[in-house]
């Protein structure tokens, strides 16, 4: 037992102070703005897009970027800029829906495992370990291979694959919070279990969950793009950055813009989420800020 240790204050920012902190961090701001940009692109796609995404124009095949076609056209003469704008919609939609599936189910599993422990925990974690034992994209591919390719199946597949990370993160943080003195304090004061679970454990275990959700969004978008690239995700003529890039490979020397623009947007989006995730982690857990 030590007489006196230097205790480090863990200042956990709450609500708006977190946003403020993120905004003050140049990285956080960059990530935030990047995501905002993609989000606006997706939301206002019908206004921003200049052409119908599926409109084939044989006269304008493989046109280079110009005032008419900002990002050029593809082998069917479709406007790449418009397809990218709508692609943002697809990417974000798949990302958000699949992460919501994963986060929702994973959260419940993790909370149950962390709070109840014993048999409940071992059963849930066994199940999670099995899913986790699959290399993630492999499992996603297997699921769409079986269910067939469609946007909904893509979301389901990516969602299922991401459940275990959430369950593990939430379980770990619930257990960590459960072991803290302030939870022991809450018990000693005589609070009901429900109050302890929802007023004390839940808010304090949300930080790693939030970080995980941000990072999972980036990986979900990446997985969707990869699956679409392989032809097992979003199916043509729906615009997906992954499939656009895949189609572009045949024409890449004649029309490098077909490769470059979708690639840049994929990278930009994933990068933004990763940067925000990093900044969020720094803000929520000063211990990890190195």
């Amino acid at each position: 037992m030590s007489d006196k240790k230097t205790y480090v204050d863990r200042r956990l920012p709450t609500g708006d102070s977190l946003l403020k902190q993120l905004w003050q961090d140049p990285l956080g701001r960059a990530g935030f703005l990047g995501i905002l940009f993609i989000l606006l692109l997706a939301l206002f796609a019908p206004i921003i897009a200049r052409y119908d995404v599926a409109q084939i124009n044989s006269k304008a095949r493989l046109a280079a970027p110009s005032g008419t076609y900002w990002f050029g056209t593809d082998n069917f003469g479709r406007d790449i800029f418009s397809r990218i704008v709508y692609g943002a919609q697809v990417s974000l939609l798949v990302g958000v829906v699949s992460v919501s599936i994963a986060a929702g189910i994973g959260y419940l599993f993790g909370l149950a495992a962390g709070f109840f422990e014993g048999k409940v925990e071992s059963t849930i974690m066994m199940l999670m370990d099995i899913i986790f034992a699959f290399p993630s994209i492999l499992l996603a591919l297997l699921i769409v291979a079986v269910l067939g390719t469609s946007i909904v199946n893509t979301m389901i597949a990516i969602g299922i694959v991401n459940i275990p990370v959430f369950a593990r993160t939430v379980r770990a943080s619930v257990k960590a919070v459960k072991g803290t003195d302030y939870i022991a304090n809450a018990r000693s004061v005589g609070l009901k279990n429900s109050v302890i679970l929802f007023r004390h454990i839940t808010p304090n275990s949300l930080a790693p969950f939030t970080v995980q959700a941000t990072l999972a969004l980036s990986s979900a978008i990446l997985t969707e793009a990869t699956m679409s690239f392989l032809g097992l995700g979003i199916q043509p003529p729906n615009p997906s950055w992954g499939s656009m890039l895949s189609e572009a490979r045949t024409y890449m020397e004649m029309a490098p813009w077909m490769v470059v623009f979708p690639a840049l947007f994929i990278i930009f989006t994933i990068l933004s989420f990763n940067i925000l995730g990093d900044a969020l982690r720094d803000a929520l857990d000063p211990k990890l800020k190195l």
Partner: protein
């Protein structure tokens, strides 16, 4: 832990395969379907039996190394998997070498020179490594080489035995692509883990003994920092396997990943089932090896 997890994986795969809409037989026979042919195939595939029996038949075959036969060619799946695995493994090993050669020195350097110019560069590079999807990097790389140098990566695969140099030429680009995306996260982990260890008391104590920096860093700091890094590397094998699926497709390398994709596109389910089971098994085994590796690095952990 190994056996129950593997059992769980096999059951999961088996159950997922049951979800295939419509039925397999009509998938195979297509318009040629007649009641006789259908009955023959159902018997051949064993799907006339109850689910539990089907599973046991399948798994007992798997244990003996019999993964079934391809619907299309009728060839045994397992030998094909083994042969293709050797190609994928070569690619994976090369990728790891590329990743580690980049990641460890830069990660350590960036931790030591925290917040310096070098550190910033390394961190941005690492972030890019994590954020740029393998297929995007590969495509951009091919485009760049073609436009600037007029170089096209070879399309026809040559094995290591036939012509090692040619083989290396084929493998090097995909290894760089796979390796650099791995390098990103290894670099980040190396940096943060090194920083964590560097502020520990015992590092101060080692320096207080008069240790040269090289010994402080390599013998004490890095060996301790490698404990979380090893976990990451184990988990990355999974990402690497996913990566090979895409990269093999792009660079036309006849590895396991390509085999799996062929299976998926042709709806050749024994191939899909077998490949996924095989890859998951390898993944689980590698992670077990990682756990054993811990006991060598960290004397505090014992597996009795």
């Amino acid at each position: 832990m190994l056996i129950p997890i593997l059992l769980g994986i096999s059951i999961a795969i088996f159950l997922i395969m049951q979800l295939i809409p419509g039925d397999v037989v009509s998938g195979i026979l297509g318009i040629e379907e007649t009641p006789e042919l259908r009955a023959m195939w159902e018997k051949k595939l064993g799907i006339d039996k109850p689910l539990v029996t089907q599973y046991f038949n399948w798994i007992s075959g798997v244990v003996r190394g019999d993964f079934g036969e391809s619907f299309r060619t009728g060839a045994k799946v397992f030998p094909e998997i083994l042969w293709r695995f050797s190609i994928s493994a070569e690619l994976a090993i090369l990728a790891c070498i590329v990743a580690w050669i980049i990641a460890f020195p830069l990660g350590i350097l960036s931790a030591l020179k925290r917040n310096s110019f070098i550190d910033r560069i390394v961190r941005v590079a690492a972030l890019l490594g994590v954020s740029v999807p393998g297929f995007a990097f590969a495509t951009l790389l091919i485009l760049f080489l073609a436009l600037v140098f007029g170089y096209y990566p070879p399309i026809k695969y040559v094995s290591l035995m036939q012509n090692p140099l040619k083989n290396l030429e084929i493998m090097i680009l995909p290894a760089i692509v796979l390796g650099s995306s791995m390098a990103g996260s290894v670099m980040r982990m190396t940096r943060s883990s090194m920083l964590e260890v560097l502020r520990q008391d015992f590092i101060k104590a080692v320096r207080a003994k008069g240790a040269p920096e090289r010994i402080t860093i390599m013998r004490h700091a890095f060996r301790n920092a490698s404990i979380p890094i090893v976990t990451l590397v184990g988990m990355q094998i999974g990402i690497l396997m996913g990566g090979t699926v895409v990269i093999e497709q792009i660079f036309s390398i006849p590895g396991l990943g390509q085999y799996l994709l062929t299976g998926i596109f042709q709806r050749d389910f024994p191939i899909v089932q077998g490949t996924v089971l095989f890859m998951a098994t390898i993944y689980v085994i590698i992670n077990l090896l990682v756990d054993i590796l811990y006991t060598y690095i960290d004397p505090r952990i014992t597996y009795s």
